[in-house]
């Protein structure tokens, strides 16, 4: 495999890591207004993701940086083309990031409510837009011969991309609820289980429709054959259906594995459907950005490959260790931060 293709795969891996990890902490965020009954339970919910959300978000930072380094033209066109969408993402992420550190800094109920909602709205909004944004890469955006976006904000919305946004929201919520079944205790745990069941069918149904449609869009609008996109799509559908079954069978750890797999399958299906293009132009197929016409030179990619080979395993190692350290359920005494 040449380095350009390798980096296309690595960008997909980074987005998969981001969706897998931040997916559940977005899900927990979205459920904040619904699951807890009192302030103690709300704090417990924050604590389930408190130690890890920041590390999870770095997957996005790295995906952004890696796209900049490995595919400058892709980074430039995507970020300028999705301008207002990314502005909204930044807004949602900022209020959410701050809610983690600031909510506990006052006992005023109004202050705490504001930051709880900031987290919930931020989680929901960012999930929705990532879904809309990634599906736009495949569905096609008006991109001109210079490789610049030439449409309006509203061009980003159509049935497929909006479905993409809703699907990501639903899957993340399901993923988050299932995560909570592994990390909470008492009444909150029972409510997390109920939420996971309630969300499971919706998430699986939306996910299945979206994944099938993604293969259709790949064939119709991006000149792909049914295979290979159908492979990750099928795995995704199977994982989500299995997740529903496992949730009803009360096999929570396995269910969480399946929601994780389903989440990754969404990213992988979109990227497989894109390849060898990275952004489809709806103006003319020849204006589409491809792996080869947007990639950096060989030397940059070689340097980045060495860096990735050294640091990705290290990151996986210490992030994995973090999850091991905080594996215990939250509730009662224990993991309360002293700051």
């Amino acid at each position: 495999m040449d380095l350009q293709n390798l980096w296309f795969v690595l960008i997909a891996v980074l987005w998969s890591g981001y969706f897998l990890l931040e997916g559940f902490d977005f899900g927990v965020g979205m459920l904040l207004p619904y699951l807890p009954r009192d302030d103690e339970e709300r704090s417990e919910m924050f604590q389930t993701i408190g130690p890890v959300w920041d590390g999870n978000e770095v997957w996005l930072v790295t995906a952004g940086g890696a796209t900049f380094a490995a595919f400058p033209a892709w980074y430039a066109t995507m970020f300028s083309g999705l301008y207002i969408a990314l502005l909204a993402v930044l807004f949602f992420l900022i209020i959410r990031v701050i809610s983690f550190e600031w909510r506990s800094k006052s006992t005023s109920p109004r202050w705490r409510r504001v930051w709880l909602w900031a987290n919930a709205v931020g989680s929901f909004g960012a999930s929705l837009i990532w879904g809309v944004g990634l599906s736009n890469l495949l569905y096609g955006m008006p991109i001109n011969s210079n490789g610049d976006f030439s449409g309006t904000f509203w061009d980003l919305f159509n049935g497929y991309t909006v479905l993409g946004g809703l699907t990501v929201v639903a899957i993340f919520a399901f993923h988050g609820a299932t995560f909570l079944t592994l990390r909470t205790t008492g009444d909150l745990l029972e409510r997390a289980k109920t939420a996971s069941k309630q969300l499971s069918v919706l998430a699986a149904a939306l996910g299945a429709v979206f994944l099938v449609l993604t293969v259709v869009v790949a064939v119709n609008r991006n000149d792909k054959s049914v295979f290979p996109p159908v492979l990750p799509a099928a795995i995704g559908v199977a994982a989500l259906v299995l997740a529903v079954v496992l949730v009803y069978a009360r096999r929570w750890a396995w269910a969480f594995t399946m929601t994780g797999l389903g989440t990754i399958a969404v990213v992988v299906t979109i990227f497989t459907s894109l390849f060898p293009r990275v952004m489809v132009s709806s103006t003319s197929a020849v204006y589409s950005l491809t792996v080869s016409n947007s990639a950096s030179q060989h030397y940059t990619l070689a340097v980045m490959t060495v860096v990735a080979l050294i640091f990705v395993p290290l990151v996986l190692l210490y992030q994995g260790w973090t999850y091991h350290v905080f594996r215990a359920r939250v509730g009662g005494r224990g993991g309360e931060p002293t700051h």
Binding site: Q47, G50, P51, D54, G55, V58, L60, V61, T62, G64, G65, A66, T67, F68, A69, A70, P72, Y75, A76, T77, F79, S80, Y83, L87, L90, I94, V97, I98, F100, E101, W102, S104, K105, S106, T107, G147, D148, F149, S150, F153, S296, Q297, Y299, T300, V303, M304, V307, F311, V312, V315, Q319, T322, V325, F326, R333, G335, E336, P337, T338, H339
Partner: protein, 467 residues
Amino acid sequence: MILASSTTVDLARAQFATTSIYHFLFVPLTLGLGPIVAIFQTQWHRTRNEAWLRLTHFFGTLFLINFAIGVATGLVQEFQFGMNWSVYSKFVGNVFGAPLAIEGLAAFFLESTFLGLWIFGWNRLSPRLHLATLWIAVVGSWLSAYFILVANSFMQDPVGYRIENGQAVLTSVWALLGSHWAYYAFIHTILAGLTAGAAVVFGVCCWHFARGRNVETFRPAAKVALIVLVPVSCFNLWFGSHFGILVTSLQPMKISASEAQWDTCSHCAFSLFQVGGFTQQDQTPSFSIEIPGLLSYLSTGSFSGTVQGLTTLNDDYKANYGPGNYMPPVETIYWSMRGMAYSGSFVALVALVGAFLYWKRRLERLRWFLWVGVVATAFPFIACIFGWMLTEIGRQPWIVQGLLKTDTANSPAVSTTWLVISLAVFVTLYVVLLVLDVWLMRRYAGRDPKDAGEEPAGAAPAPAVGY
């Protein structure tokens, strides 16, 4: 059309400047307060004296309140290159993207993950391991600063590249990572961060002393702050001026503009303050205070050194790059340089006097000086703002020195309307967050450290402090 495009460039610049300056109010605090908190915790670990633990919690909280905004605005920084500067991004991506990506993989992951471990790991990790997580997070934040400054240095002094098909292409990653500019900028930035962190700790101590509260608790904190602040702030004054010599050799226009030096001179005097003399039409100040020979010394290392004048440099640039004006806004640069240098000198002076008073055991009782110490907290940040204005406005009209001009580098796809919307959103958000941040900082900085593990109101469930 020309009007429209210059408006979009100006708006994009305004947005980048706003975000960068705002981001860099929080970054130095992360870089500087982190290690000081780690020193407190190390002291606790060594001595088992609870007083150090209280200080760790107390200043750790102040650290985290600000860290959050630093992280959030850092994300804006990364996205803005592609959002607002797509031509720039395509032009430099091969080179500039690499340190950004390496920063994520090698530094930011480390910082974020281990800070999470530190915040929540009090009861889950052994004391030694828990202490290590904070130091690792500090190392992560410093590494992060290095890689970001490597990226920035490419805009000031591009190295390790060649131009191919209208793009900058990386030819040597070692040349890029070994950029002299990056080394100087890194040391200067870390020292500025330590100055900011130590000044905040010292200011908080002064505030408590002035009100006669918790004097015993804060005395050791003031000592640590002064031990850091005195050498670091003084050394950074020297180092910053030494950095100036490198800048003179690489970006002579920036230095000449920062001195409003229109004509080439030797034995050049340094202007401490002047009225007028900032435009081509009015090159001679109507009033000025000068120190003979100092400018030559500061920019060349010799009192008789030659400093190129703006007019000469502009003619050289025209000969090299074609017609145009290659001078940055002189008056802004002149005052930015002085704003930075004078603020930094003030902090160093306060540190020296503070250390003297501490040594004479008079610090806690000299009320007027204590209030000076409180006010001095703002000055490292003012110095940082002016320092970055000098660095980035002084680079104009280039976005990458000598390679690409700012007014051709913005995103063609982004309309004026979008820019106005985004600028309004960011400015509103930044102002609201700054007001809340100051409110929180005041509230938490004024607490009795005995409550440091708890809410200020004391109503929250008290977590187990220690292990």
